[in-house]
């Protein structure tokens, strides 16, 4: 418990330019030289595991990666049809959630019993950009677990009673969201940024009226349209297997592909960017902290400025030593942590946001510091700060290739975002290529705090006067239930 840092997630990238120094093997027990930090040795090579690419007739492409440390295997099946590409986010999400609630000849309980008995884990999910089914299993039990996974992908039965159960579960989840400031601010921020008209403005969980209206026919229909043909999907197999040995098993399990499918993506119109700063306040009487989230509409995953933006955000709020965390946590002690993020999605620009949970009596002071940092990021960034961010991103690449789960997930990204096969091999170089001018340009284009939506969930009585005194823009008080409708 009580970990020191928040999970600031960062991906990958580049080699570091520090000169190679041989490791000094000093005589044991001799006092070490602490006059300066020891120099880094030559960068170790990350040998990305080779991918064997195969194809199942009428089925998914198969990418096999052998990882032989542990007798286990992870399979990730993924397509490119999530909640963001078809105008029906809740249907995408509920369809994925229902895949293991009855499939082939097995009921929901039989699926769970079969897999649990094998020590296997099956996960079904839909993000904005993709639907996925994951199977993690000891390799000796793959032959028995695989047919259950394939049934979930190809032959879900969508039982009425199970949908009714999940419906009730989601309705209760919406109540839990309303009660949890950290969840509520995510829902509120999306709604205030994108509105009710753009699909990114409503959680894929759905709203109460939409949940009441959905039928098993809707799900069956969605599945028929978006999970076929299987030839548009990819199955990544990472673990203690060899391609030649595992392919017959996979081919047999997928069998003959189902006909039909109409997976054309409906292009939803891009969201309208904000043009003026507004402050929104949701009252949580007596809250010990105010949750703050501010930002505007960011970029799609396909942005040509991807690497510049990653470096920019690492400096601003993407790492422990980032400016926001350093200011809000280390310098002022207003928060346990502060961060920022570009949530990049495939079909449309996702949000950019900065945020923190801050103590109630320092809410206005904390907001002021956020805007100081959001202004300062437009000034020239010292070269050593850019170097640190680039190294931090570049040198974390191996973390994405350690476990069977990591490898499967990292490779699946290539399919979902249509990335080139050498994406990871060239990642570090591309991070290294980012210049100070790139960072400055990205900051100017993608971070304009004068147009941000500023959302605060906190004790209105205690914080409203201080917020108003900052003159950030119009302050509108909104109801928690309103952003969940």
């Amino acid at each position: 418990m009580s970990a020191r840092t928040l999970g600031l997630s960062s991906r990958i990238a580049a080699a570091c330019g520090i000169a190679a120094i041989a490791v000094t093997v000093a005589v044991a027990q001799q006092a070490p030289d602490r006059s300066k930090p020891p120099a880094l040795g030559p960068l170790p090579a990350l040998n990305l595991p080779p991918i064997e690419k195969r194809k199942i007739p009428d089925g998914p492409e198969v990418w096999v990666v052998g990882l032989h440390k542990v007798p286990t295997v992870h399979l990730q099946w993924v397509n490119t049809f999530g909640g963001g590409g078809n105008g029906e986010p809740m249907l995408a999400s509920l369809t994925a959630a229902m895949l293991d609630e009855g499939a082939g000849q097995r009921s929901a309980l039989e699926i769970a019993d079969t897999l649990d008995y094998l020590g296997a884990e099956l996960t079904t999910n839909s993000s904005w950009d993709a639907a996925s089914v994951d199977l993690h299993v000891p390799v000796a039990r793959l032959p028995e677990a695989l047919p259950v996974m394939v049934d979930a992908i190809m032959r879900p039965t969508f039982p009425e009673a199970e949908l009714d159960r999940l419906r009730k579960e989601r309705l209760a989840s919406l109540i839990e969201v309303e009660d949890d400031p950290e969840q509520l601010i995510r829902f509120a921020f999306s709604r205030l940024l994108y509105g009710t008209k753009h699909l990114y403005g409503t959680s894929m969980l759905g709203t109460a009226p939409a949940l009441h209206g959905v039928t098993t026919a809707d799900l069956r229909n969605y599945h028929a349209r978006h999970y076929r043909p299987l030839s548009l999907s990819v199955l990544v197999v990472a673990g203690d297997v060899a391609a030649d040995a595992v392919m017959p098993l996979l081919t047999k399990a997928f069998g003959t592909g189902l006909p039909g499918g109409n997976p054309a993506r409906l292009a939803s119109p891009p969201p309208a960017q904000l043009d003026a700063r507004h402050v929104y306040l949701i009252d949580k009487p007596e809250a010990a902290q105010s949750q703050i989230r501010m930002g505007w509409i960011g970029v799609p995953r396909s942005t040509p400025d991807f690497f510049a933006i990653r470096v920019l955000n690492t400096i601003l709020g993407g790492a422990f030593t980032s400016r926001l965390n350093n200011n809000l946590r280390e310098v002022h002690g207003y928060a346990y942590g502060a961060s920022s993020s570009f949530d990049m999605r495939r079909d449309n620009p996702g949000p950019f946001f900065a945020g923190a949970g801050v103590q109630t009596d320092k809410t206005a002071e904390a907001l002021k510091e956020f805007f100081i940092e959001l202004a300062r990021i437009h000034e020239p960034v010292p070269p050593e700060e850019i170097e640190k961010a680039k190294n931090y991103l570049a040198l974390q690449l191996p973390r994405n290739f350690e476990t069977t789960r990591d490898v499967a997930g990292s490779l699946a990204q290539l399919h979902v975002y249509n990335l080139p096969p050498d994406y990871y091999a060239t990642y570090a170089d591309r991070v290294r290529a980012v210049t100070a001018a790139d960072v400055k340009r990205a900051a100017d284009q993608y971070i304009q705090p004068g147009k941000f939506a500023v959302v605060i969930v906190g004790d209105r009585k205690a914080i409203e006067p201080g917020i108003k005194s900052l003159n950030l823009g119009t302050v509108t008080v909104i109801d928690a239930a309103a952003v969940l409708k």
């Binding site: 020191r4 570091c16 769970a112 007596e286």
Partner: protein
């Protein structure tokens, strides 16, 4: 008992047609040695990716805190990142991030663990920083440093407890389970007023008493050459001075519940929640593994007894959890159920009690029992995959060294579960989950 063991062995031995290369999987090779200053060192080589983890456990946690200074072990953990004699404030994180490293730490009742994960070319840097704070922390410490992290920790408490739904429940439960003065009675995060009271002198005393090398163990694992890593560790930790007095085990009478203790607290939540809690056998004591299996029977998956009845069939609960929180002096067993809207906690409690009574009256069926054991076995494989971070192989080796005196205890640990029979689970339910000696906490909506 023997029949069950064989059935599992058969599953494992099934010939793999899939090109599998590995057979065992739980054998973690390592070397270990103790430095003259008392620091125990464990090395494990694994070249899967070019990363190294430097993991340190100090064998002190909140259970060692003095009255009026609750939360101090955790506050102290934060201070370990604020600079040391040869790495001024800020260097620790700046240098590590520039080298592509990450780090973190956590505090529990019995121990405090730290990790630094770096690309393997930065091993020397990680050892420099880790040894410098073990040897020279106080050279960089000041009352101002303590104040800065005091504010951060208070905000951690606000965020994770006071402002989180049901966040105060764990603090209440400990106060109900344990008598005044018991080392597990107060929360690791601490009481607000005690965080305010912590002083610079407390930091000095705590460091000298508990952060001596003889009260710690160091794991270096991953992309290393063990001979070189040994020499590096010997170099960097050579000037860490030994402690003056060794730390003995905590000597405190075993806590026992003798009645049902009930309490209801209010929170800004719409769904009420029921917590049941018992005091149970310590980590690795008889009963500990059995209670892990019981947790899976009660709340592990759709077919588990409590989940199936409360969430799947009756649909009166939003979620259910059952777990044995294993610790050094004793463990705690908890069952936690969140009610659906308009469902009474009494109804939920009645179902939970029925299910506990059933497992007390008859052993689980063979398939149900084996299903749980297979899930546990599978989780052991999962735990072998990542070397660094919390719960990585390095962290687990320190955990096993601390709890069992053997950093490679993986196979022995799994064998505890493989040796069980269904009747063992019935027996622990009878013995350790009595209906008339437990804690019952309800969190209800603010009126």
């Amino acid at each position: 008992m023997m029949r069950r063991l064989l059935a599992i062995a058969l599953l494992l031995a099934a010939a793999s047609p899939l090109g599998a290369q590995q057979k065992g999987g739980l054998d973690i090779p390592y070397t270990q040695f103790t430095l003259p200053n008392g620091l125990h060192v464990i090395l494990h080589e694994d070249h899967t990716v070019p990363l190294v983890t430097v993991n340190v456990w100090y064998h002190v946690g909140s259970a060692r805190e003095k009255p009026g200074r609750t939360g101090f072990a955790h506050l102290f953990e934060h201070l370990m990142f604020m600079g040391s004699g040869h790495a001024k404030y800020g260097d620790f994180d700046q240098l590590l991030e520039a080298a592509g490293g990450t780090n973190n730490a956590s505090t529990a009742e019995d121990q405090t663990n730290y990790y630094i994960d770096v690309p393997s070319n930065a091993l020397e840097l990680a050892l420099f920083l880790e040894s410098d704070r073990m040897a020279y922390l106080l050279d960089a410490m000041s009352p101002k440093t303590v104040d800065a992290q005091r504010d951060v920790v208070k905000n951690e408490r606000r965020q994770s407890y006071e402002n989180a739904p049901y966040g105060m429940a764990s603090i209440e439960i400990a106060q109900m389970l344990y008598p005044q003065g018991h080392p597990y009675r107060w929360p690791t995060i601490g009481y607000m007023e005690d965080l305010s009271a912590a002083s610079y002198q407390d930091v000095v005393d705590f460091f000298k008493t508990y952060y001596q090398p003889g009260n710690a163990s160091l794991v270096v694992a991953g992309d290393i050459d063990p001979a070189k890593a040994k020499a590096s560790v010997e170099t960097w930790f050579a000037d860490v001075k030994p402690g003056t007095a060794p730390i003995g085990p905590i000597d405190y009478p075993h806590a026992n519940l003798t009645e049902v203790r009930k309490k209801t607290i209010q929170d800004r939540v719409q769904l009420p929640r029921l917590y049941l809690a018992w005091i149970t056998p310590a980590h690795f004591e008889p009963g500990d593994a059995e209670l892990d299996v019981l947790s899976l029977l009660l709340a592990g998956g759709k077919n588990s007894r409590l989940y199936k009845r409360l969430v799947y069939e009756l649909q009166v609960a939003q979620d259910v959890a059952a777990f044995q929180a294993s610790k050094r002096l004793n463990s705690e067993y908890q069952i936690v159920v969140t009610a659906r809207p308009d469902v009474s906690i009494d109804k939920i409690r009645a179902v939970v009690d029925e299910e506990i009574a059933k497992i007390q009256q008859a052993p689980p069926a063979a398939r149900e029992f084996t299903r749980a054991i297979n899930q546990i076995e599978s989780s052991f494989y999962d735990r072998m995959e990542r070397i660094g971070g919390f719960g990585g192989v390095g962290d687990q080796m320190n955990g096993y060294y601390f709890a069992a005196g053997n950093p490679g205890y993986f196979t022995e640990d799994l064998s505890r579960y493989r040796a069980l029979a269904p009747s063992d689970i019935q027996a622990v339910a009878q013995r350790f989950l009595p209906a008339n000696k437990r804690v019952e906490l309800v969190v209800e909506s603010v009126k």
